[in-house]
Symmetry: C2
Subunit: 320 residues, 2 copies
């Protein structure tokens, strides 16, 4: 099966390494890689070390030339619009190419429309790595929870906030915490996307769109970040055996109304929602038949995000 | 699809109710129910309220008469041997009947042999409800973690110990805690199976047999229960921000040696392993490609165990 990678940063390289390592059992082949300013195409297969020094192409031309059967969209997130990822995904569906993305922008901004386009073209559309760094969430619901109705979810899904809150509990400043998260490679240079709750809101909208049929965007999430927390407040809570976590929640009320919110919630230190450190994350699904059940991932990194793409790829081949 | 229930207690009744509720979408039909001293057979379908007042039959005759395509084995666990469930499962496989069980005895005592018999007869063998009350574990590994090698696991899987430890942390006696667990319907009249770690050891052997190809029994698990804990010890730990959980662990060493143990482990109160209360449970899998990833279930009950049987049933129909 021929795969085109659109975007090629740390996740893309980890994914290419993973395919190289697993090729004897899973015969996937990367026939094209497109970066911001360059590309490489080889129908016999590209490897992790292949130089990428061809010209940058229009994404449609690129997909045509590498004869892709699956496009993996892993460009950098543009959180306010979901572009250019949405356009890339549309270009793939128009050609009958299946799509896997690790980019939550398209799901947060255009999930319902993209699903419809995928269905029209009989394409598969997968996105396991968007919310929990590759841990089974969407594939678990699809493959392991038959007949279940999901009424809501609760998640602790943002890494930077965990590092910053842990630092402030130790008396350090928010800026110290942000620098620590940056050193760990978790936070961007501009950490406000995490601190103000936008990352959590985008994940909340993504999960709500997929699991609760929400058809909303991150702007619809009732959102407050951790920006107003102080070391003094957190030390005071610590003395009471409490802490704070940036929690994503969504549910449908019995009348069908959708509620989505992101909040810095005060929790007992012993609460499972407070137990996640660093990049560890947890998502609990509230269901009718299976009660409250969820997935936890302990300190996932870029290798796990790459594995999420791989698991989507295997899942697509099974469904064809 | 015709289903035979062998064993019909709380889980069996919850399962029959679930099938009645979901029949319009999932057309499964219970054609036979066998209890300890009676049976009922009706090829047009039995419901949750059907009187079960026919004679008890030999299990092979019972399966023949109800023309079962799937047997659901939910007799009471006989932990030391796994019988009579193992014999029931063999009788089904001999007739080419698929098997689902919520009974960890057969997996803890005869998993490899039963798998071989299932393969010979081209039967499916499923057991999602054995270790985590129906939450996706085995089906998650099968369906959502392709290509992954599992090197070990860590689980907090026993309910009674959680209730007893919580009681003793509040200064109550072990006996008080056991009575509380009995009132909640979690602990048996003889709670030593839980307190001495046998339930955890059986789950450890089951998970190791399936996930680590162990071919061992609960007797091979290095096991210490919570029997020597005292309220004083737990109150002392509490003052240090620590607590105890009965933890199941197994891993393969790099040389391939299998280690399995059950221990009352001292943990920080803030550890995710210490965060589960009552029947809530957590299993973390240690893997090569997906790092440490797991499933958590919050206060599951008999309805969730029944759902695990249902999810196995749907998974079997998909694999046929």
């Amino acid at each position: 099966m021929r795969i085109a990678l659109v975007g090629y940063g740390n996740v893309g390289r980890a994914f290419a390494r993973l395919l190289d390592a697993k090729r004897s059992v899973f015969p996937f082949l990367i026939s094209g890689i497109q970066k911001r300013n360059s590309s490489a195409i080889n129908l016999a297969g590209l490897h992790v070390d292949t130089p990428i020094n061809g010209p940058r192409l229009d994404v449609g031309d690129f997909l045509d030339q590498c004869q892709a059967e699956v496009m993996i969209e892993i460009t950098t997130l543009e959180p306010a619009t979901g572009e250019p990822a949405i356009s890339h995904i549309r270009a793939a569906f128009q050609r009958g190419i299946h799509v896997i993305t690790a980019n939550k922008g398209p799901l947060a901004h255009a999930y319902a429309a993209l699903c419809q386009e995928a269905m029209l073209r009989q394409c598969q559309f997968r996105f396991e790595s968007t919310c929990m760094d590759g841990a089974p969430v969407f594939n678990m619901v699809r493959n392991c929870l038959p007949g279940v109705d999901i009424s809501g979810f609760t998640g602790v899904l943002n890494s930077t906030s965990k590092v910053v809150i842990a630092a402030m509990r130790d008396g350090k400043s928010m800026e110290d915490g942000i620098r620590e998260a940056q050193r760990m490679g978790i936070a961007e240079a501009d950490a406000s996307y995490d601190i103000d709750g936008w990352d959590s809101a985008a994940k909340t909208a993504t999960l709500a769109n997929v699991l609760l049929n929400a058809n909303r965007t991150p702007l619809d999430v009732d959102r407050k970040g951790i920006g107003r927390l102080t070391p003094e407040k957190l030390e005071d809570l610590k003395s009471q055996g409490k802490t704070v976590a940036l929690v994503s929640r969504a549910h449908r009320t019995p009348s069908g109304e959708l509620k989505m919110r992101v909040r810095a919630e005060v929790l007992p230190e012993t609460d499972i929602l407070a137990s996640l450190q660093g990049t560890s994350n947890l998502l609990l699904l509230h269901t009718d038949l299976m009660g409250t059940v969820g997935t936890v991932a302990i300190t996932p990194g870029v290798e796990q995000t790459a594995y999420g793409l791989f698991s989507d790829l295997v899942d697509i081949t099974k469904s064809l």
